[in-house]
């Protein structure tokens, strides 16, 4: 049986079970599922001959046998230990299944809706059918096709024009240690009306022995003047498989700021595509990935400057240890007539071991003549002169190297406005270097000083 057939069989079972339990689905959903399945069957899983997947081998996913689950059981104590300590409007999903028990939306401002996809479909499926799939169709990749075939649950965030959400909206995805690995295909749909403003945190985390496959699709629409800060904090277990396809569409004068923070997962692939469609639109891509052991983290970003006077800024940093592998592919496309745009991109990587590997590729395609673009990529080791300086102050070599590693990550983290997220990542980075660097105590102490 082929790898693809395993997934198609699972889909057929699921579709039949759903029909028996809930009756027929709205026709548009059924039609998209079919289109997704057909597209997935035609494409199959990408192999390394496909340029966009040249450095990323997805056989760990293709050869997997993943079940689907209907259970959202998760120990509240474990969930409390994993959750971000932050006041937020919270939706929680366990292996893709909505957990009402672990969700607490609190009081949302007028004109703001945050709800599970299943509920949004039940309430008014036509209102979902318009935007859903508009940015990420089945054509994008075999994974987006697969997601479309399987989609059931996820989050819908709607911000009415002019609405401002003070507290962050936290979408929490928990992964369980299951006897048989499961897969989930969450959809996140964010519609930010004109001049609305919000912060959305997607937090992917789970039990340390979890070995599931998450295949996420996010579609984010920013109307004129909307401001959205989008955190994706990926702290999944070191056995989890994680693929995310994120598409953002920006209207005039809108601002989208992404923090793509990857610490977990055995195989991680993020695609972030932003369409800057209106004058004055600005996109900021901040990324950090830290991988060790045999982790593989692949970040593909694409900024489409489809209108004049649009701006994109990208800053990705990677830290790779042991035999970890990182991929950064940052592409900027400037359309004809998209004059006076600015696009800046940088990717810096730190290799802590000589067996770690990074493949970094900036790509600029410019079809306009009055533009300001820059890009740069660096890969290296720690600054030995800085190591020496710290040692001359009595700091042992390993602590010195740890401090400098933390500092490297710190340059991305200092742009993070949410203290809870910054501290979480800083502690995680420090804690990931346990026997060699052991910096957690120092970081905690410095943070408590900062709070004074």
């Amino acid at each position: 049986m082929s790898d693809v057939q395993t997934f198609l069989d699972r889909l057929a079972e699921r579709t039949e079970a759903r029909r028996q339990a809930h009756g027929p689905e709205p026709t548009w959903i059924a039609a998209r599922r079919q289109a997704g399945a057909a597209r997935f069957e035609a494409l199959g899983f990408p192999d390394r001959r496909v340029e966009a997947w040249k450095y990323t081998d997805v056989r760990a996913i293709a050869r997997g046998d993943f079940a689907l689950t209907d259970s959202a059981d998760f120990s509240p104590a474990s969930a409390a230990a994993l959750t971000l300590p932050i006041a937020a409007h919270r939706l929680t999903f366990v292996d893709g299944v909505f957990s009402a028990a672990l969700s607490d939306l609190g009081e949302l401002p007028a004109g703001v809706a945050v709800l599970p996809l299943s509920q949004a479909l039940a309430e008014n499926h036509e209102a979902v059918g318009g935007p859903l799939g508009r940015l990420t169709g089945v054509e994008f990749s075999p994974f987006s096709a697969l997601n479309t075939a399987f989609m059931e649950e996820g989050a819908v965030v709607r911000l009415a024009p002019g609405s401002v959400v003070e507290k962050p909206i936290l979408l929490q995805f928990l992964s369980r240690a299951n006897a048989q690995p499961v897969m989930s295909h969450p959809r996140v749909l964010i519609e930010a009306g004109a001049r609305s403003q919000a912060t959305v945190i997607e937090h992917h985390i789970g039990e340390s022995e979890a070995a599931n496959f998450t295949n996420l699709v996010d579609e984010v629409m920013l109307d004129r003047g909307a401001i959205l800060t989008h955190y994706k904090l990926q702290e999944a277990s070191l056995k989890d498989l994680h693929v995310a396809s994120i598409h953002v569409e920006q209207g005039r004068d809108s601002r989208y700021t992404s923090f793509n923070l990857n610490l977990g997962g055995s195989l991680v692939r993020n695609d972030l595509v932003v369409d800057l469609n209106g004058k004055g639109a600005e996109a900021n891509f901040n990324g950090l990935f830290f991988a060790q052991g045999r982790q593989h983290v692949d970040n593909h970003t694409l900024a489409n400057h489809n209108a004049p006077l649009t701006f994109s800024n990208e800053n990705y940093k990677g830290i790779l240890d042991d035999r970890a592998r990182g991929v950064f592919n940052g592409r900027v496309v400037v359309k004809r007539d998209s004059q006076k745009i600015e696009a800046h991109q940088s990717n810096a990587n730190l290799l802590l071991s000589d067996r770690a590997e990074i493949d970094t590729k900036p790509e600029l395609e410019i079809y306009a003549d009055d533009v300001k673009c820059s890009h740069g990529a660096t890969t290296g080791q720690l600054d030995e002169e800085a190591v020496f300086t710290l040692r001359t102050r009595g700091i042992d070599e390993q602590t010195a190297r740890g401090l400098l590693t933390l500092a490297f990550a710190g340059e991305v983290m200092e742009r993070v406005e949410l203290e809870a997220v910054a501290e979480r990542v800083e502690l995680a980075v420090a804690g990931k270097l346990p026997e060699r660097f052991n910096l957690s105590g120092l970081v905690e102490a410095a943070m408590s000083l900062h709070d004074d």
Binding site: T389, R391, T392, R393, E397, L403, A407, L442, A445
Partner: protein, 250 residues
């Protein structure tokens, strides 16, 4: 305290120090002067343990310990601290991290627990006030974007916090305007103590108007050519180095 005997050092195959001997006792301030290229900075760099300097013969001992056998951080923990001529910028490492990590390393070496946060804050606040630095420096990355004077003050701040037994200051006066020079000199003078040695490396006599040395040595061609007291520095100021060079050659 510090004893350097017949030290020969080569850098990239070229001999820079050619039999330098020097003894610094506790409570003394020594100034090493000399023309450019004489090897002034090499001595403190070798004591601190900088790579790229090969000691071909001679010895350095500090309180009876063989310095050349010690790791870089062990030298610092033993009490030898070098203030750099060109302090390195360390992006992302906050000053407060460096100070705390360094102080705790020192305490650990002495069998003490980490310094409690309130005590640390109190200590740091008094020291930055002494160096006339703003508290915001603590949250800034080490030396990043600092002016020349700020970098030098930061070096002295580290000395004030870590209280070394032997403070070595390499051209701490270079690039300082007169106000910054006074602040730096006040900081160094506050370090003067009966149980501490200070080694100043400088090209110009000017610094020695503010920090009065007990001993002045002139380094010429890798050796100490002449030693004296503060009057020697004044003579060098008025006559330059050439006469010492000529005397040595003769």
């Amino acid at each position: 305290m510090l004893e350097v005997k017949d030290l020969h050092v080569t850098v990239e195959g070229k001999e820079i120090l050619k039999g330098l001997s020097l003894t610094v006792k506790a409570g003394e301030v020594h100034a090493i002067m000399g023309p450019n290229g004489a090897g002034k900075s090499t001595l403190s760099a070798v004591i601190a343990g900088k790579e790229g300097y090969e000691v071909t013969s001679g010895t350095i001992t500090f309180e009876g310990q063989d310095v050349l056998e010690m790791e870089i951080e062990e030298r610092a923990l033993a009490g030898m601290l070098l203030g750099f001529q060109y302090p390195v910028e360390i992006p992302g490492v906050k000053n407060i991290y460096l100070l705390k990590a360094a102080l705790n390393a020192q305490r650990a070496a002495n069998g003490q627990a980490d310094i409690p946060a309130p005590e640390f804050m109190k200590l740091i606040k008094s020291k930055i006030a002494e160096m006339k630095m703003d508290a915001s420096f603590l949250q800034r990355a080490v030396n990043e974007g600092f002016s020349g004077g700020e970098k030098k003050r930061n070096e002295i701040l580290q000395m004030l916090v870590l209280q070394p037994k032997l403070a070595m200051l390499d051209e701490i006066d270079s690039g300082l305007d007169i106000d910054a020079m006074r602040i730096v000199a006040d900081g160094v003078n506050s370090l003067r103590a009966a149980d501490r040695g200070i080694l100043l490396v400088t090209h110009y006599q000017r610094l020695l108007d503010y920090i009065i040395p007990d001993h002045v040595h002139v380094l010429v061609d890798g050796r100490i050519a002449k030693s004296g007291d503060k009057e020697l520095a004044k003579e060098l100021e008025s006559r330059g180095y050439d006469w010492v060079v000529e005397e040595t050659a003769a």
